[in-house]
């Protein structure tokens, strides 16, 4: 195989594989490297996705879907529950995926379109020639290798420093991440709910999940992803793991569950970048912080981001111009199609982060679960602002939204 490609993509997650598929379909030679011995694992994810993602990627195979979800139940600190069944309003609902199957499916779709994919290959460096990025360097089976391409797409996720070698400021500020821990558990129940497996469950409150939330995402047959994400703090003694275990202790239906898998991770929930390209280089997916700042979901955003990157690169290749100014179309298009919306979501998060448990309780009386879903899409911020205005102390936060 020639070690010279039109495009090298680093990372075969949803962003990388979706970008690869589109570019391969357009006739470009594409190589995707992934450091992992098995694509899709380890999972660092709650595995939830909105069903409307299928409008973009096509029907998700049944084997990649663990559970079908019709809505959400959100619990305020005082225990008040908000429920939304989105299928009642004709929406599709969502899925909890098996990422190990899902990611391999996306990779296989890319391969079927003609992309090369190579697992177990660690890219350590960008290859620089005459001051420009000309490919990548890394290790394959422990031996050094080098491969060249006209453009490198960095879709590594946040947990890589490769992107920073481009000169872009890719590291995540500690204030703009959630530190997470999750168990995949079987034999669990949510007390008093016979139909809990149809809903995503979210608990908010600064005592149980400081500046974050606790979740149960059902995976079928009384199993679920059960986890927590909180904002790190230098003042807090305790880890995410501590809060996770404490929550389980207060929920016997969860505590009695069996722990099949333990996963950790850090998710960017903010810090959207104006500039995500340099000459011959594009940053996309979670590596570019393309994550929903309210729920921390990144699969759908990664898919959009990878596909927009692919469109732009296909166009730039046709014009034989992979300079920063040509690739800047990615900045423009991403901000137009996804960024503006994600920035609104980020604003909602900025408000939520400043709210006390009393404020959350007040809010739970003033808005519906449907409103929360709208807010998590970056829509109807005025509904939240109006609710906040009812309490004089929250006027400032309301103003931040408008």
């Amino acid at each position: 195989m020639s070690e010279n490609f039109d495009v090298i993509i680093v990372g075969a997650g949803p962003a990388g594989s979706c970008a690869a598929r589109k570019m391969a379909e357009a006739g470009l030679s594409v190589m995707v490297y992934d450091r992992r011995a098995e694509l899709g694992t380890p999972v660092r994810c709650g595995e939830g996705i909105n069903g409307n993602a299928e409008e973009v990627i096509g029907n998700i195979p049944h084997r990649a879907i663990c559970a079908r979800i019709i809505g959400g139940r959100i619990y305020a600190p005082n225990g008040r529950m908000l429920e939304a069944d989105v299928t009642k309003t004709g929406q599709k609902g969502g899925y909890v995926l098996d990422r190990k199957v899902f990611d391999k499916w996306l990779a296989r779709e890319a391969a079927r379109a003609g992309a090369f994919i190579q697992a177990n290959t660690l890219v350590t460096d960008l290859l620089i020639e005459n001051g420009r990025i000309a490919g990548v360097r890394g290790k394959r089976w422990g031996d050094p290798f080098e491969a060249k391409a006209k453009v490198v797409v960095c879709a590594t996720g946040a947990e890589s420093r490769l992107g920073a070698q481009s000169g872009l400021k890719t590291h995540c500020s500690m204030q703009l991440v959630d530190t997470c821990i999750q168990y995949e558990m079987s034999d669990i129940d949510i007390e008093g709910q016979s139909d809990w497996e149809k809903f995503l469950h979210i608990w908010v409150g600064n005592k149980l999940a400081p500046r974050g939330y606790y979740w149960v995402f059902p995976k079928g047959d009384r199993s679920a992803n059960v986890g927590i994400g909180i904002v790190p703090s230098n003042e807090r003694e305790k880890s995410a793991l501590y809060y996770h275990e404490k929550f389980l202790d207060s929920h016997p239906g969860l505590r009695n569950g069996r722990i099949l898998e333990v996963k950790g991770g850090v998710v960017p929930v903010g810090g959207l970048m104006q500039d995500m390209v340099v000459d011959n280089f594009v940053l996309c997916g979670e590596a570019a912080h393309h994550v929903n700042a309210i729920h921390g979901g990144g699969i759908k955003e990664a898919i959009f981001s990878g596909r927009i990157a692919a469109d732009v690169i296909i166009d730039c290749m046709q014009r034989n111009d992979l300079s920063k100014s040509a690739l800047s179309m990615f900045n423009l298009r991403w901000w137009e199609e996804r960024g503006r919306r994600l920035r609104s979501v980020e604003k909602v998060r900025e408000v939520f982060e400043k709210m006390t448990d009393d404020d959350f309780n007040m809010l739970a009386d003033a808005i519906t679960a449907e409103d929360v879903f709208d807010l998590a899409r970056g829509e109807k911020l005025s509904v939240l602002a109006k609710a906040l205005m009812k309490k004089p102390g929250l006027l400032g936060l309301a103003r931040h939204l408008l």
Partner: protein, 56 residues
């Protein structure tokens, strides 16, 4: 500078790599530190299981 990792706790999630402002960390099976580390402790505070200890 002393950056130490409790390998019994570490889940190899790479969260520490994501937040390191100095690109001093890399996930090579376990995270590994190089001489760019300034002992800022951000990785210690961020690690979901507090597997990292940084002494100034």
């Amino acid at each position: 500078m002393a950056w130490t990792l409790n390998k019994g706790k570490c889940m190899k999630c790479g969260g520490c790599v994501a937040v390191c402002p100095f690109q001093a960390l890399e996930l090579v099976d376990f995270p590994e530190v190089d001489n760019r580390c300034t002992s800022c402790k951000i990785c210690e505070w961020t690690c979901p299981v507090r597997a990292i200890t940084v002494d100034k």
